[in-house]
């Protein structure tokens, strides 16, 4: 299976710390769920993997004033949403932001998000040494009724037979 890796590191070490090794964070299969007109919020999903211990501490997007990291938990049969301050990225371990789990909430959308377009996101990463990094991600928009979180991820139209 072909995986699309988008890894663009913006900005190197800060304040003369250039000699310190930076955590290399890769972003796989980012996507954002499309919205209908008038809908003010949606979710962004992806898999993150860092070479070194790091954490995702924030997200920005030109599409919205308010982007938060959320965790969804099923408490018996109740869905509970809570904002989390960060998501740990253990060294070498893929962490999935997916429906039913961690995700990025884009709230107060400035415009409708249409399937087939792309949403720009900036991930704010903090390394174990306290260094900040920004990662630019271009996330394709999948249809509102996109299959989610079940099995493989080929990005489009995998229907059960």
């Amino acid at each position: 299976m072909q995986r699309t890796f988008i890894s663009s590191l913006i900005g190197l070490a800060l304040l003369g710390a250039a000699s310190l090794a930076q955590a290399q964070v890769t972003v796989a299969e980012p996507w954002v769920r499309a919205t209908v007109a008038g809908q003010q919020a949606t979710g962004a999903f992806m898999a993150l993997q860092s070479t070194d211990q790091a954490k995702l501490v924030g997200v920005r997007s030109p599409l919205t004033q308010q982007a938060e990291i959320h965790e969804m938990v099923m408490d018996k049969d109740v869905m509970r949403m809570r904002q989390v301050q960060h998501i740990d990225l253990p060294a070498g371990k893929a962490v999935e932001l997916k429906p039913g789990s961690y995700h990025i909430m884009l709230m107060g959308l400035k415009q409708q998000v249409n399937a087939g377009s792309n949403v720009d996101l900036t991930l704010l990463i903090e390394t174990a040494a306290g260094q900040k990094q920004e990662i630019a991600v271009r996330a394709p928009v999948r249809a509102l009724n996109a299959k989610s979180g079940q099995g493989h991820h080929d990005g489009h139209g995998h229907k059960a037979h």
Binding site: V36, G38, Q39, Q66, M79, P99, M107, N145, G149, A160
Partner: protein, 205 residues
Amino acid sequence: MKASHPRRRLLLGLLATPFVLAACKDSTPKQAAFSNLEGVNLSSADFGKDFALTDTEGQRRTLADYRGKVVLIFFGFTQCPDVCPTALTRAVDIKEQLGKDGDKIQVLFISVDPERDSNELLRAYMQAFDPGFVALRPTQEELAKTAQDFKVFYQKVPTGSSYTMDHSALTYVYDTHGKLQIALRHTQTTEEAVADLRQVLALSH
């Protein structure tokens, strides 16, 4: 017929017992004997009997409007990042996998966030999944009552400058006579849901 010996009659009576029980079962088909249900058996539940709510076209609706259909009721809101679209997408897939029987499925979406879920927004949201899905938009008072009647939990959760909603993620399933039979859990796959729904559909035969 000649009166039989008392002892023989007793024996016959005992032998007949299983048949009598079987006959009773047949005469009350709505008390379903589900087998290997992945969802929750609610056939003897004493809640979720009915609602009276307005749809996005301003029509007052109750369960009686959907007699002859297997009704699926889901409580949710359109700003929902994944549980609601996932449940509605599964409903689309269920209809597809049921083939012809899919036409007997009616999905109703009851908003737990009528403050932000306008009729227009709910209509567009349903359209994005299946034009046949119906959204109901309660007033806050109606929502409180309906949630109580259906034992559904919902709660506003502040987040930053906005809010999100915690809510029950079960899908209630009614037989074609409008009686609550089962609830699909959010974690059930489409295939598991279809297997459960076939049992509910079989009740109307």
